[in-house]
Amino acid sequence: MAIGMRVDGWLPGWLKRGVLSDHLILWLSVAYVLGMAPWATGFVSVSNAQTILAYLLPVLVVSVGLTLVLIIGGIDLSVTSIIALASVLGAKVMSGEDGWMAGNALAVPVGVLVMLAVGLGLGAVNGFTVAVCRIPAFIATLTTMMFVSGFAIWVTLSRKIGGLPAGFVMLGQNLWVATVMAVAVTWLAHGFLSRTLYGRWFYAVGQNARAALVSGVPVGRVTFWTYVASGGFAGLSAILFTAGLETGNPEMARDNLLDVVGAVVIGGTSLYGGRGRVLGTVFGVLFLALVDNSLNLVGLTFYTITMVKGGVILGAALLDTARTRILARTG
């Protein structure tokens, strides 16, 4: 250890420990809140915390799904388009105005199931093209995104769908219900990745798919189910989004794709696969949500905020490489 310390003498010990901490992004979030509080009026308040939470939960759910995909060394660009399609199809089932099951007592459970099924089904399509047809994930999910987002607009003729039943809207607007759902799936994904046999397989596939195959890991099956899971998480996210906004919208979450990828990367998950944690993603989503919200309060426009968020994501990536370098030197 003594040698490592000497090499990194230029960094004070507390700073280095901070940079190396697994909770780095959480500490940065706390520091950000403290630093921003005097400037953004109303930033630290109960009502604003609720606003942040309502924005954060659906993004968190879809980001957790994407974390799984990145860990096996893949990418899923179709998640936000899946959210859009699930949103409009679910709304078409449930809408009290001209929904297919308008007024039916089972409209809400059927609508919810339809939304999850859209996610899982499109995830299965992605999984099939990537794992079985061996099409690069970037292309496979990009084409899914193009087709699905186009389809969502075509099927609604570009109109938003309102009049959703109260029983459904409650799922997103009652923050207790939404929080319990989001935390439950996040916690499940975390336990799955960090504690189970399958979790270890995910990491092995991302680290070295060939070695994993030789070692008896069913690489094809792992890949397929990862995309199914990612689609499923997107479906659940669609439920939270749609209920929260009380509308089925064919452009739902359209601007969120880079937020989602950015949050996962800020959380320390590697785009090269094999490295990442669900907890990191939670922190990443939190941090981006705080930045977004506070800059809104300060009165910046959507486009300026997007620019700032781009800078934040770049900063996080730089921090991550610095971290890796220090780790390589000191162990």
Partner: protein
């Protein structure tokens, strides 16, 4: 080969490069400790040591990739502490790596000038480039035009391009790291001739190799590293091969191939009947018995590795049958074969043997983890940790490695032990080993041999593929020789003979 090189060292001159008490550590472990020696112009210095002895680290310090923690280097009398490879290059150090650093898609000339193209009016001057390249290629006696793409050259010719590149940069010290591993005998001869010429011209050379005979034949001076310290140095004439080996290992290796006390039984474990796959293997038939170590020899490209992959289910076969303990394996994927007791140590541990970024512990448990889970598939951690501890002891992994340390930071020998541990933990019945001792040091080789004997003693059948004929003769109960995809010869115990094996491998002269 065994002629003694003339001692032409004028010890009165200032050394070109001198190391003075160099220290370096990683992960809190000292990798180099108080290393001091000198390299003289017009001399070839052999640098030997086991993997992990610190050779590469030391050369990376010379080449500007790493900085020493303490001590100093002197170059031509002045202080020398390069902070980047480029600085080292400018001083006159040329580094020729194990894996060559040429751009395969570019031509010879483009590779030679990659550091700075001759320019005219701001554009690349192709004519000047061609002329200067031709001149230097003549010097290294490479009979290819400067416009030949590097991908069309053989390994030996590429080596010469590297040397030409070093000469163009007006290097004064050339470091060669395992330059002959991928060369044919003839190419090696040509390389040696080149090295001798460079020495005549007053260049200094550092020659790193595991091939001690070559080092002896080529070098004037010798430095032996063990655990980061210089344990022997001086004129080559003062060292015998035995002394070199024992200094490297730190103990006398009395018996290189450990004797096995168990005998193979008559019970057939693995039965291979007429296995064929066009372009790979033809009608391969053999039986592997309980407790037997069956060797497979043959040239590169004779179908040895392809056969191993087919047996393990990684590649298909168009005809034939593979039976393990009577059960037909043909339609089963690797996963199912592993469940039935197969294990496969691949030829290239970096490409498909290990998850390099993952930890020692995670790699060791990867195969057998399925047995350490409860009903919810949650891993029972204490059980997994205990298994890792047990395996570390069984394969005698270096105690310096932590369970959580990434495997890529281990030496080659220790990496190979991790691969073995991963499979042994699963208690294999049939273990296919493809080049189990490639690129690992003497000490680790002995450990691998010991583990193979232990496996056979426990009743496993071992299929050992190797390019080293001595190793097969020393370890196996029977040797099959593959030739162009088929089994050309089966050699029974008592008839082992280096010449016969080579003749069978070369038979029909296709690969002369």
């Amino acid at each position: 080969m065994d002629e003694n090189p003339p001692m032409r060292v004028d010890r009165l001159t200032e050394p070109l490069l001198a190391f003075r008490r160099i220290d370096k550590g990683f992960f809190g472990v000292k990798v180099l400790e108080g290393v001091s020696f000198e390299v003289h112009a017009g001399c070839a210095l052999g640098l030997v040591g086991e993997n992990g002895a610190g050779k590469s680290t030391l050369m990376n310090i010379v080449g500007g990739n790493l900085c020493a923690d303490a001590g100093e280097m002197r170059w031509n009398g002045g202080r020398y502490s390069p902070r980047s490879p480029r600085e080292a290059e400018r001083a006159g150090v040329a580094f020729i790596h194990q894996e060559l650093n040429l751009f395969q898609n570019l031509t010879i000339a483009e590779n030679l000038f990659i550091g700075g193209f001759p320019r005219r009016l701001g554009l690349i001057d192709r004519r000047a480039m061609g002329e200067r390249a031709r001149a230097v290629l003549r010097e290294v006696r490479l009979e290819h035009g400067p416009d030949t793409p590097v991908e069309r050259l053989s390994a030996g010719e590429r080596q010469l391009v590297e040397i030409a590149k070093a000469m163009m940069g007006e290097a004064r010290l050339i470091i060669l790291d395992e330059p002959t591993t991928s060369l044919t005998t003839r190419e090696t001869g040509r390389l040696f001739e080149m090295v001798r010429q460079l020495r005549e011209r007053g260049l200094a050379l550092i020659y790193i190799s595991h091939n001690l005979e070559q080092v002896r034949a080529l070098c004037d001076d010798l430095v032996i590293l063990r655990d980061g310290q210089v344990v022997g140095s001086g004129a080559m004439s003062g060292f015998t091969l035995d002394r070199m080996v024992s200094l490297m290992v730190g103990r006398e290796i009395t018996q290189f191939f450990p004797t096995r006390t168990s005998r193979p039984s008559t019970e057939v474990l693995l039965e291979v009947r007429g296995v064929s796959q066009p372009g790979m293997v033809r009608a391969v038939t053999f039986e592997l018995h309980r407790g037997e170590v069956l060797g497979i020899s043959g040239l590169m490209g004779s179908g040895r590795s392809e056969l191993a992959r087919i047996l393990f289910g990684l590649d298909d076969c168009s005809a034939g049958e593979i039976r393990l303990a009577g059960e037909c394996l043909n339609p089963l994927p690797p996963r199912e074969r592993i469940a039935r007791g197969m294990a496969f140590l691949t030829e290239d541990r970096r490409a498909d043997g290990l998850c390099l970024e993952a930890s020692v512990g995670d790699n060791i448990t990867l195969v057998a983890l399925g047995r350490m889970v409860g009903r919810t598939k949650a891993v029972r951690r204490e059980e997994a940790q205990a298994a890792v501890r047990r395996m570390r002891e069984a394969v005698r992994l270096t105690p310096g490695a932590r369970d959580g340390q990434p495997v890529k930071t281990l030496s080659g020998g220790n990496q190979q032990k991790v691969v073995l541990a991963k499979w042994i933990l699963n208690e294999p019945k049939v273990f296919i080993l493809d080049e189990p001792t490639r690129g690992i040091d003497v000490g680790a080789k002995c450990e691998v041999y010991r583990l193979i004997n232990e496996l056979a003693g426990r009743g496993a059948g071992v299929l050992m593929i190797s390019s080293e004929v001595e190793e097969l003769i020393g370890m196996c109960d029977r040797i099959l020789v593959m030739n162009r995809g088929a089994i050309g010869d089966s050699i029974e115990p008592g008839q082992f003979d280096r010449e016969r094996i080579l003749r069978s491998a070369l038979h029909s002269g296709v690969l002369a």
